[in-house]
Symmetry: C3
Subunit: 314 residues, 3 copies
């Protein structure tokens, strides 16, 4: 068992800083005419996704490829998983084939941690149930640090995380990371979408978006994870939208410099009004763009950084 | 928004000539022991197919790879499209991930044009509904120019485009391109499969294959696009076949040097007799072979040609 | 039509020895910091799988990639096969696109042989119905030769092939190869799972695992291919398991140095007890690990070895 990235809480403050710094290095690489470095030449990165997510998978695969690693995609549909193979045997097979690192997504919280204990190679959690999605947290932090032109911190930034918090792994990773970087986090949503006991969380809570709106620097809308709850939890989507949808009117009552974020995929008109997605206030496309250098940083950090290979010639 | 290839009508005569010339250059590259050039090193080509077509997708992906570009395949099944993401957000996400060019296929006519107006990167239309499939037209032209050993023209060649013209994007691209290259085009099929008003099209029309057969140099059979019409349109496939199937007997009544083409996939016995597909009269395999250099030419033309990068050292 | 690897019986003894030797060369390559050689640079290897098998497909694709070949994956789901294209036209299309070698899996015995007769490029049978899976046989032989530290032979080794022999292509390839390498092969299973006439096979047969257990050096458990027989064949899985499952108790009655093999995917508790899979007696992970160098050897042997390209500089 190697060092893996399962949760933001696995990272020391120094490691977070290291990844944020590496991410800047690789953002520069990405801006080149030939956006490639031989940093992981000869390494094989495998993706193992038990939930559909083309955007996250492609972001990791592009990151691996720009580091000159080889990529193998284990597609669960049509694999021996369908023949009854266990999670452990599937993961061990990928390791035995020669993968040097496995990026895994799975609908069960804790599953990536469990698998990482069976394997010798490092793993990256690309989302496990409602638990964690650490690279999403990191790319969101990079996007905000870039926006606020700050030095690897978010001191004093007030971030509202709005909507379906309880079912969101993105929320869990972001709450931990943003608060450690100095931000004040407010969770906003109806009671059914908020954790019942937040005493251990470094956050405030509000049931009213309209009330907290004037104080927020960042409006982070979450996707409603309707695949993770029964219909009874949220009787009416229209009710939700009337109180929590980020409409054009509502955005007018926010701070003039407040920015809008969303982890994607965006379902326009449910969590966020159509025209806001593409507006100047939106950092949504920048979040996607930052995904590749952040994942390059994480892959490099896990596979090569301790070998001291950040070649100045790159 | 960049220059894209959506329709044959986007191309000037000089641009068509340029692509035909580049295609010859890349055909030579393909015949080498190591059929690769570093022409698009560092570029990322994405394929985004909303209709199944492994052959066309692989042809584009091989073309990109032989130009040393990286390839990302956005597979719609199992993507966030299933979660309700809009076409616009899907395409913008692929662009934000870092794609330098997007090759798209979609069942709706006009959809690729629409998406290209939202994006900054060039696009190639790999087939949109019944509208256009320009690289198929180009590879068919290359195949005929090669067959007739002509100089980038098809002057005086009589081409019959036979069968389900009305639902065929291949027919639309070929009619435009072949007639601009100097060919005479005759559309042949039952009334239900022919456009009702062809006054704007540079073609003749015939309902009888047997009648026009002795005058044709090229017999271009189309696939019956049964997924694009209701059963009522064509009461009987047997009736169609008796009049329009290219049988062995019918081929005997054609010109001795007439050649047979089909865009594939071929369903033997419906549009064309089994043994003709593999005969010396058939250019069908040559069409597939020419697909790769033609797509190399198009990708290179859109991504690099105006940077003057056709290195003589290749 | 080129030389292909369809069945173990295609290979002369000298060719088997050549592949075993090449496999050792490529195992050394795989152990390097950068496990790649330019042996097949510029070649394109296509995989064409009509049955699900991510592990075998990835093993071939990794092998091709470590030889610096390009890989194209023809995925049958979502291809023109669904539009009614024939097996022949699908295979010829892949060849026309530019594949230099096709790795094919198909549920019908004999199908890969048939296709190889239509094509000009070499093929590798990655499993056809209940007929053959030659690279599995070769990687199993490599695993045993490595275990017994022998010189490309298995002289005197007693191998029990246990379970669903009749439906197993792995069994057929292994019986041929192991006995040619000098091993004594015993087939063990209930009558419904054994061939009715084995007079032409170089094997012994037993209906009782417990009876032959003390004499076996290798316990090779097969997967029950329930997709290949009707329920009537095997009335009760529980009955099967009580007599043929390799349980912990049963393993205690085997020779102290007997080893356990399985072609995967393992369904723990049906053919083999959970804890044995990961025990020191198990060669199962080693089988998977050896798959990549063995397939590198086969691809290299078919595409390059007769050109005398085994460069000592690698």
């Amino acid at each position: 068992m190697s060092r893996s990235l399962i949760s933001i809480s696995d990272l020391t403050d120094a490691e977070i800083e290291k990844i944020l710094d590496l991410s800047k290095v690789f953002a520069e690489v990405n801006s080149r005419e030939i956006p490639k470095v031989p940093a992981l030449k000869g390494k094989t990165v495998a993706t193992l996704f038990f939930e559909n997510s083309t955007r996250t998978r492609l972001s990791f695969e592009l990151a691996a490829s720009r580091l000159s690693a080889d990529v193998i995609t284990f597609s669960v549909a049509g694999s021996s998983v369908a023949k009854g193979e266990s999670l452990r045997d599937t993961a061990e097979t990928i390791e035995s084939l020669g993968a040097d690192l496995i990026v895994m997504r799975h609908p069960s919280s804790g599953s990536v941690k469990l698998v990482s204990e069976w394997l010798r190679v490092p793993m990256v959690n690309a989302g496990d149930g409602a638990f964690q999605h650490p690279t999403q947290g990191l790319l969101d932090a990079v996007t905000l640090i870039e926006h606020f032109k700050s030095e690897n911190n978010l001191n004093g930034v007030r971030i509202g995380i709005i909507g379906d918090v309880i079912h969101s792994r993105v929320a869990r990773s972001n709450i931990q990371l943003m608060s450690r970087l100095g931000a004040e986090v407010v969770l906003v949503g109806p009671p059914a979408f908020l954790p019942s006991d937040i005493s251990a969380w470094p956050v405030k809570v509000s049931y009213s978006l309209d009330e907290v709106l004037p104080e927020l620097d960042v409006l982070y809308l979450l996707r409603i994870q309707s695949e993770r709850f029964s219909d009874a939890v949220l009787p009416s989507l229209a009710d939700f939208s009337s109180s929590y949808l980020l409409s054009r009117d509502r955005l007018k009552r926010a701070r003039k410099d407040a920015v809008v974020m969303h982890p994607g995929p965006v379902i326009r008109g449910v969590e966020i009004a159509h025209e806001i997605v593409d507006s100047e206030r939106s950092l949504i496309r920048r979040q996607v763009e930052n995904g590749v250098p952040v994942r390059m940083a994480v892959l490099y950090w896990l596979l090569a950084a301790n070998e001291g290979k950040l070649d100045p010639a790159w």
